[in-house]
Amino acid sequence: MQQIISLLSIFAVAAHAATYDLPPLPFGLSALKPMISKNTLQIHHGKHHAKYVDTLNSLVAGTHLENQPLETIIKESYKSNKSIFNNAAQAWNHSFYWQCMKAKGGGTPDESSHKQLCDKINASFGSYANFRKQFAEAANTAFGSGWAWLVSDRKGNLSVTKTIGAENPMVASGRLIPILTCDVWEHAYYLDYANLRPTYVDTFLEKLVNWEFVAENLERAMDSGRNWSC
C-alpha cells in the first residue's frame, strides 16, 4: 500500500514538474521545542509555506517564468505581477527562514569559528548588543505581517531592515543581500506566544539563530562582491 502511494506520488511529480519544490525542514518538527512548538512548525511549514509554493507553481505554469530559478521569478515579478511576487518571495523567505534557525543556536556568534562575521557585526553596529537591539526593534515594529532582516552589501557592510508582506531586501530599494531573517507574521508565533511578539523575537535571537548559516551567507555576499568587481 505504502509503495503504491509513493509510486503514485512519484508519477504525480513527474506529470506536473514543479517550478519550485517545498524544501523539507532542515530539522525535525520537534527540534525547536519549546521555543517553537511542533504544532507551529507543522502548520507553518506544511500549510503556509506549502501553500505559497503550490500557488507559485500554479501561477507560473505555462508562463515564461515556469521552471525559472526562484530568485529570477522574484526579481522579474516584483514590479509586474503582485501575486506571483508574493508567492515566490514567500516561498523563498520561508526556505531561508528555516535555515536561519537551529536547535541550541542563538546568542553571540562564536568569535573563533565566525571571526569575519563577528568583525563585520562590530564594524557595522559597534557591538553584538547594538545589532541585537536594532534587529529586535525592527522585528517588533514591522507593523502587521512582515520580516526582520540582517542584510549585507557586497563588501560585507551590514545593516538591519524590516519588510512588510512578502517584500524581500534583494528587490526592495537598496537591493541588499539577506543573511538572516526572522518571520514576524503572526502565524510564525501566535500558537506559542499569542500577542507577545517581543518574547518570540528575543527567543529567536537568544536561542535559535543559526550563525553558521549566517556566516556562510555573509561569505557568499562578499564573494559576489569580489566577482562583481572583476
Partner: protein, 264 residues
C-alpha cells in the same frame, strides 16, 4: 443645518468627503465640553493622558462560540485592542482630545501612530459592536433600505457574501488587513484595506467612504481556532454578524454622511 456646520469645519477634496466630520454629534459636544474643562484645569494639570479607552464588549468573551473562541476574543480585545489604545493615548498625550472617529480622516498625514494605533482603535471598536451571539444574530436581518442597497450593488445578500469572502481571501488581502462594506457616493462598495487602514482615512481608497460592516482578517483574529484556514473563519463569521446593527450603521451613514461613531 447639519451639513452647513460640517462643511464649514472641513475643507477637503470631494463633495462626499467634505461631509465626513460631524459637528452635531454628542461626541463632538463632549469634545467641546472637555476642551472647556481642559482650559479651566490647564494650570493645574496637563491635558488628559488617557483620552481613549477599550470599550467593554456588549457580550461575554465566550458568547461568539463556536465561531469565535473565548481565548481569541479575550486576547484580541484585552491585548491587541488594548495595545492600540495605549499607543494612541501615548501619541496624543498633551493634545486636545478629539473623538477617535475624527482622527481617521487625516490619519495618513498625521503619521504612523495615528494611522496604525488610531486606526486600530477605531476598527476594533467598530468590529466588536457589529457582532452578537449566534442565537441573537440569527434573528437579525438587513433593514429594507439596506437590503435594497445590497441588491443594487451586489445582486443579493448571498452575492454580497460571496464577493466579500473572495475579498477576504489571503490572496486578496495579503498579510494583515480588513474587509469592508462601505457607503460611497455611488452606493455600497466592497474594499479590502491593509493593516489598520480603513476607508474613512483620506488616501486609503479612491474616495473617503463610510464603513457599515468590517471584518478583521489579521491572523490574530482567527489563528488560535482556525490557523491557516482563513476562509473557514470568514464563512463562519456570518453566524455572528448582527444585521440590526449593520442596518443601523447604514441608516446613520446615509443620513449623516459621516462615519459611525464608536464607543471608547
Amino acid at each position: 443645518m447639519k451639513l452647513a456646520i460640517s462643511a464649514a469645519l472641513v475643507g477637503s477634496a470631494s463633495a462626499w468627503s467634505t461631509l465626513t466630520m460631524k459637528a452635531q454629534t454628542p461626541n463632538s459636544r463632549r469634545n467641546i465640553l472637555q476642551k472647556g474643562a481642559a482650559i479651566a484645569t490647564a494650570i493645574a494639570a496637563p491635558a488628559a493622558a488617557n483620552a481613549y479607552a477599550v470599550p467593554d464588549l456588549l457580550y461575554p468573551f465566550e458568547a461568539l462560540e463556536p465561531y469565535i473562541d473565548a481565548p481569541t476574543m479575550k486576547i484580541h480585545h484585552d491585548k491587541h485592542h488594548g495595545t492600540y489604545v495605549a499607543n494612541i493615548n501615548k501619541a496624543t498625550e498633551g493634545k486636545d482630545e478629539v473623538d477617535i472617529l475624527e482622527l481617521q480622516l487625516n490619519a495618513l498625514e498625521a503619521g504612523p501612530a495615528y494611522r496604525n494605533s488610531g486606526g486600530g482603535h477605531y476598527n476594533h471598536a467598530f468590529f466588536w459592536d457589529e457582532m452578537a451571539p449566534p442565537d441573537e444574530a440569527k434573528k437579525t436581518k438587513p433593514s429594507a433600505e439596506l437590503e435594497a442597497a445590497i441588491d443594487k450593488a451586489f445582486g443579493s445578500l448571498d452575492d454580497m457574501k460571496a464577493k466579500f469572502e473572495a475579498q477576504a481571501a489571503p490572496g486578496a488581502v495579503f498579510g494583515s488587513g480588513w474587509v469592508w462594506i462601505c457607503a460611497s457616493s455611488d452606493g455600497l462598495k466592497l474594499v479590502g484595506t491593509p493593516n489598520q487602514d480603513n476607508p474613512l482615512m483620506k488616501g486609503v481608497t479612491d474616495e473617503v467612504m463610510f464603513p457599515i460592516l468590517g471584518l478583521d482578517v489579521w491572523e490574530h483574529a482567527y489563528y488560535l481556532k482556525y490557523q491557516n484556514r482563513r476562509p473557514e473563519y470568514v464563512s463562519n463569521w456570518w453566524n455572528v454578524v448582527n444585521w440590526d446593527k449593520v442596518s443601523e450603521n447604514y441608516a446613520y451613514v446615509t443620513e449623516n454622511k459621516a462615519g459611525v461613531p464608536v464607543r471608547g
